[in-house]
C-alpha cells in the first residue's frame, strides 16, 4: 500500500479528509467565498466582524442540530453573508427572498441546456 492509501486507511471517519483535492464541493461554495472576499475588499466589513458573525452562525446551526462536519460549512458562510449585508443596510432579507423566488421561477421555465436568465416577469408571483 502506498503512503497516501495507508494514510487514508488510518484516517478516522470523524476527520473528513481530502488528499490535496478540490476545496469546494460545489460551485456555489466558491461563489459565496468570492463574494465575501469582494465585499471585504470594498470595505463593507472587516475580517474580525466576519469571523464574529460566522462563529455566531455556526453556533446557531450547531444548536439546531447541525453536525458541523465541514460539509455544511458554506451554508453558514452564506448565512453570514446574508446577515452582514442586511445589517450594513445594503439590502433587506425581503429583497433577497424576492430575488430567490424570481431565480426559482426562471430556473423552472428555462429548458435544460440553456443558460438561465432573470427576466422581469420572473418577479411577478
Amino acid at each position: 500500500m502506498d503512503n497516501a492509501a495507508a494514510r487514508a486507511a488510518r484516517t478516522v471517519p470523524s476527520i473528513p479528509r481530502d488528499a490535496e483535492g478540490p476545496v469546494f464541493r460545489e460551485p456555489w461554495e466558491a461563489q459565496a467565498f468570492a463574494m465575501a472576499l469582494a465585499l471585504h475588499e470594498r470595505g463593507l466589513f472587516t475580517w474580525n466582524e466576519w469571523a464574529a458573525t460566522l462563529s455566531v452562525e455556526i453556533k446557531r446551526a450547531q444548536a439546531a442540530g447541525d453536525p458541523d462536519t465541514g460539509e455544511t460549512y458554506y451554508r453558514h458562510w452564506l448565512a453570514t453573508l446574508e446577515r452582514l449585508i442586511a445589517e450594513k443596510g445594503v439590502t433587506t432579507s425581503e429583497t433577497l427572498h424576492r430575488y430567490r423566488d424570481a431565480w426559482d421561477h426562471a430556473a423552472d421555465r428555462t429548458p435544460h441546456g440553456t443558460p438561465i436568465e432573470l427576466r422581469p416577469e420572473d418577479f411577478a408571483s
Binding site: 473528513p16 456555489w28 466558491a30 463574494m35 469582494a38 469571523a51 446574508e82 429583497t95 433577497l96
Partner: protein, 191 residues
C-alpha cells in the same frame, strides 16, 4: 443554496457592490493560481536562502511581500519553524481562519468541528490520524489562528534533498505540511 447565492449575487451586482467578472476572477484564482503553490515556493526559498528564512521568521508578511508574485498577503502572517525539538500545527478553533493567500482554500477537515476541537486537546492523536508519528521527545505546539493572525508552518527540509533547486524543493512541499498535519514528501518515495 444555489438560488440563494444567485439572489445575493444579482442584488449585489445591481447595486454596484460587486462586479460579476471580478467574482469569476477571484474564484479562478483560488481554485488554480493560488492553491498551495505560493506557500510551497516560500518554503522552498526559505530552505535554500538563509537570509530569506531569517526575514520570514521575523516578519512573515514583509518577507513574503518582497517576493512580489504573491498578492493579497494577510496583514499578519506568522511563520513557525519545525525543528527536531518542536513540531508546529495550525488550527482555528473558532471557525476557519486560514492563510489562503499562501495555501489556497482550506480543506474540508480543517473547517470541521472534530479537527477544530481535537487539535488542541489531542494533537498527537490527530497527527496519528493523518499518518504522522513523531518521536516522543518532539514537543507539539498548536497555534490557534484568528482573523488577524494566520500561521504558516515551515516544515523541516527532508534529508536527501541536498543540492536541489528551489523548484524541485517546492514540489515536495505539501499543503498539509504547511498546516502541520503532514510532512513534506520524501525524496524518491512514490507519490
Amino acid at each position: 443554496m444555489e438560488l440563494r447565492v444567485r439572489a445575493l449575487e444579482t442584488v449585489l451586482s445591481e447595486k454596484g457592490y460587486i462586479d460579476p467578472a471580478a467574482l469569476d476572477a477571484i474564484v479562478q484564482a483560488y481554485e488554480t493560481r493560488i492553491g498551495p503553490h505560493n506557500g510551497a515556493q516560500v518554503v522552498a526559498k526559505a530552505w535554500t536562502d538563509p537570509a530569506f528564512k531569517q526575514a520570514l521568521l521575523h516578519d512573515g508578511t514583509k518577507a513574503v511581500g518582497t517576493l512580489g508574485h504573491v498578492g493579497r498577503v494577510g496583514d499578519h502572517l506568522v511563520v513557525v519553524e519545525n525543528t527536531p525539538q518542536r513540531h508546529n500545527m495550525v488550527v482555528c478553533t473558532l471557525c476557519s481562519c486560514y492563510p489562503w493567500e499562501m495555501l489556497g482554500l482550506p480543506p474540508t477537515w480543517y473547517k470541521a468541528a472534530p479537527y477544530r476541537s481535537r487539535a488542541v486537546k489531542d494533537p498527537r492523536g490527530v497527527l496519528a490520524d493523518f499518518g504522522v508519528t513523531l518521536p516522543k521527545e518532539t514537543e507539539i505546539r498548536v497555534w490557534d489562528s484568528t482573523a488577524e493572525t494566520r500561521f504558516l508552518v515551515l516544515p523541516m527540509r527532508p534529508a536527501g534533498t541536498e543540492g536541489w533547486s528551489e523548484q524541485q524543493l517546492a514540489e515536495i512541499v505539501t499543503r498539509d505540511s504547511m498546516i502541520g498535519t503532514g510532512l513534506p514528501k520524501t525524496p524518491g518515495a512514490p507519490s
